[in-house]
Symmetry: C2
Subunit: 455 residues, 2 copies
């Protein structure tokens, strides 16, 4: 039996234990957005570090970033062989709205082919698939290449300390290629390599009217209602076609080429699949682009949250003193995340009436990325996926943002292979997040192939 | 010394005790909007009932309305003399946003001429002023007229059970005039009789998009964001002039007459006074009407609350599944509160795109009212105010809504005298509600005069 097959056999024999370990990991409520949960996030870092040590990874340490720590580890025994950097994040999204979860978010439950829990799909499960694959290869003999780990705790809050941390530790994370399983697949039967990610710029927009909530009967009609004023401002941020109206927003957006149009038309995503995945009554957006291009190649602006006045049960007849919106933009080449703040401020300067005071707070930003596909790493991934699924992977640009990818390119010169077993129906960032267990198993196998393909 | 002066002397001697009793009353957290506080609201009803019994009012009882009880009581010893119905409400507004209160809302504190606490001005304080005046007159001798009490616990939630309760008990509440101290004054030196109130129609507007919150990177730009869709709908509910765009909204609105324009120009309220009272950066609204006419004689539409998606600290990159707005309209003659629901639904039917599902819930409605000023009750109030303040009262239409006024007119044939010591700067419905104690004392005196003037 070849080493690759021995490792795959080892993995298959340990599937049940891998799932139990994942459930332990999910239990740790590592919500990075929640400042009151800081200890839980650190606990998750320590859990991963202990797990890496247990399987034989060396030099494991928690590195201070100013925020949640980076878990580093390495296994460097093959001078001259390539070094793979394995990326992962051990933090998860908030669970709100908690009332829509059918099972407790931090106690996994298995139903049919799925395991449910916050972080199963995004991405504790995906990260453990790489670590399980490493374990399998380590257990059956000599590791064919060198390994490093970069596991962060702030991906879900925009990797906000990485831009300072990574340049300060650029040598430590130098590698020939980064395996990043945070991107997902189009469907369980369609292995996917993501080569484009959108950037992100996230804001809070605050509008202020009267000094405090007013009696709507005494002052309604004489004072501009901040909730209404905010609605007017938000409504103006798109035109009727769904195009964003921030001044200069599209100035540096690369035009979609005919080739890109043709390639995305090969993807199995259709308007119908979008409708089915989302449950939306109808699709929406720029008519001159397909849904796949709208999310992959075009920048967008979304309202992530709205809050003003009385939102409890029943009636309160106030004219609220203020209103707030969380607004974020997904960015594409060659938009500069830092410029979006200026464009939003410019929009407000032009459109806010004298009846309203306002403030825009930048919460975070991360750059877009396009992966160079002409590398040994991508070829090794391609071949690994073919071995496991029996077909060539699809190549796509994705709508999400993973800040580390561009940073590794720009700061460490490392290209990333964006893969992973997360599926569109996994409810990531939503209630009832789940992971497809058979796909998870296939990814463990694919990662084992990948390590041997790289040697 | 005349009886009226004896009663006033009694009141002055007991000012301190009256304030202590009011503080006890304020302590009871009778927030009618909060279903979890039902017991507290009933406790307030019982407190008032006990107090009425203590000062000598007879037949005091709590009457079931299906919601919070009505406190009834009477003192009928003068056959042939007029009967005055004293109206009040013992429920209060919610205290949210609690963090803006400088002192606990349900523990009164006195600073200078003001007593602070939820309900001091709206309207436990005003209600106690009438009851204190009744006590003073009762203590010094024979009561010159007959009395009935109608004290409700649902004014702040639109008196929603009164429309069924009042017709079923119309005879019990028949009276020659209703003293209603829930309306307030323009300033401490300007006694005011309010002769017009606006009606109210209060709704929740819900919009629904995808089946659940989506990852904004995966679906932003392809699914109409419900928070954005709601913003677009709200933005369209007013035109650039601040005029409401619901279909048919102004069809039955009585035009403001030249006489009304002239009369409101006599009022001391100016754009500057509105700015000072509200702290708004600039005034807003229909340019062809003065602020006093906008709130008194024109209907309005206000957003009372907005909620969608992630509103906690930090970032969550979702496209929310839904969004909600609390929206209410203040109504003027001859608008029918029941029609506004149809107009809002019509607006939604015309304007909601196929990308969004929606629902409009009617939370409550109450009719506008115009008081007949040619009555003995109004003349007795006018004279009472002149005696205390040394000047004639001002007559105004007010922007607020007190459902009982039109119901008493229509169901019991009783006209109301809308007065009270609530001042524009009292922060009613807002944090740090307060009441001006010297004005409160003057109102007790005025009510004593009023009872004697009515005989």
């Amino acid at each position: 039996m070849s080493d690759v097959n021995k490792a795959i056999e080892y993995a298959h024999e340990n599937h049940e234990r891998f799932l139990t370990e994942l459930s332990e990991f999910i239990k740790i409520e590592s919500i990075s957005a929640d400042d009151t949960q800081k200890d839980k996030v650190t606990e998750a870092a320590k859990w991963v570090a202990a797990h890496l040590r247990k399987i034989g990874i060396e030099n494991v340490k928690l590195m201070d970033t100013g925020g949640h720590p980076i878990v580093y580890g390495d296994y460097i025994k093959k001078p001259g062989a390539p070094t793979i950097l394995i990326y992962g994040h051990y933090d998860v999204q908030p669970v709100d709205p908690i009332e829509l979860w059918e099972t407790p978010p931090f106690e996994t439950s298995v139903k049919g082919d799925y395991i449910f829990g916050r972080g199963t799909s995004d991405m504790k499960g995906q990260m453990m698939a790489t670590i399980n694959a490493v374990e399998a290869v380590l257990k059956i003999g000599e590791f064919p290449i060198n390994l490093k780990f970069l596991l962060e705790g702030e991906e879900e809050i925009g990797s906000k300390n990485l831009p300072a941390f990574l340049p300060a530790n650029a040598d430590l994370f130098k590698a020939d290629f980064c395996l990043n399983p945070d991107a997902g697949m189009i469907s369980p039967s369609e292995p996917t390599i993501t080569f484009g990610l959108r950037g992100l710029a996230y804001f809070e927009v605050h509008v202020y009217g009267p000094a405090q909530d007013l009696h709507s009967g005494m002052y309604g009609g004489t004072v501009h209602n901040p909730a209404q004023a905010l609605a007017e401002l938000i409504a103006g941020m798109h035109d009727a076609n769904g195009t964003v109206t921030l001044p200069g927003f599209y100035d540096s957006v690369r035009a979609v080429t005919e080739k890109e149009r043709e390639e995305t038309e090969k993807l199995p995503t259709t308007p119908e699949s979008y409708l089915q995945q989302t449950g939306a009554p109808a699709l929406w957006g720029e008519k001159e682009y397909t849904p796949a291009l709208r999310t992959g190649a075009r920048p967008t602006l979304d309202v992530n949250g709205l809050l003003s006045g009385w939102t409890g049960a029943g009636t309160k007849t106030i004219l609220p003193a203020k209103a707030m919106a969380k607004i974020s933009c997904r960015l594409v080449p060659d938009q500069d995340p830092s410029e979006i703040y200026n464009q939003l401020v410019k929009y407000m300067e032009i459109n806010v009436p004298e009846t309203i005071n306002w403030e825009v707070k930048e919460l975070n930003k991360s750059p877009w990325s396009i992966t160079n596909l002409d590398t040994n790493g991508i070829r090794a991934l391609h071949k690994a996926m073919e071995s496991v699924w029996g077909c060539a992977p699809l190549y796509r640009r994705e709508g999400g943002s993973i800040g580390v990818v561009a940073m590794l390119q720009n700061i460490c010169g490392v290209e990333s292979g964006l893969v992973g077993g997360s599926l569109p129906e996994d409810n990531i960032h939503s209630p009832n997040e789940r992971m497809h267990i058979p796909t998870w198993h296939k990814n463990i196998d694919a990662f084992i192939h990948f390590f041997f393909n790289m040697k």
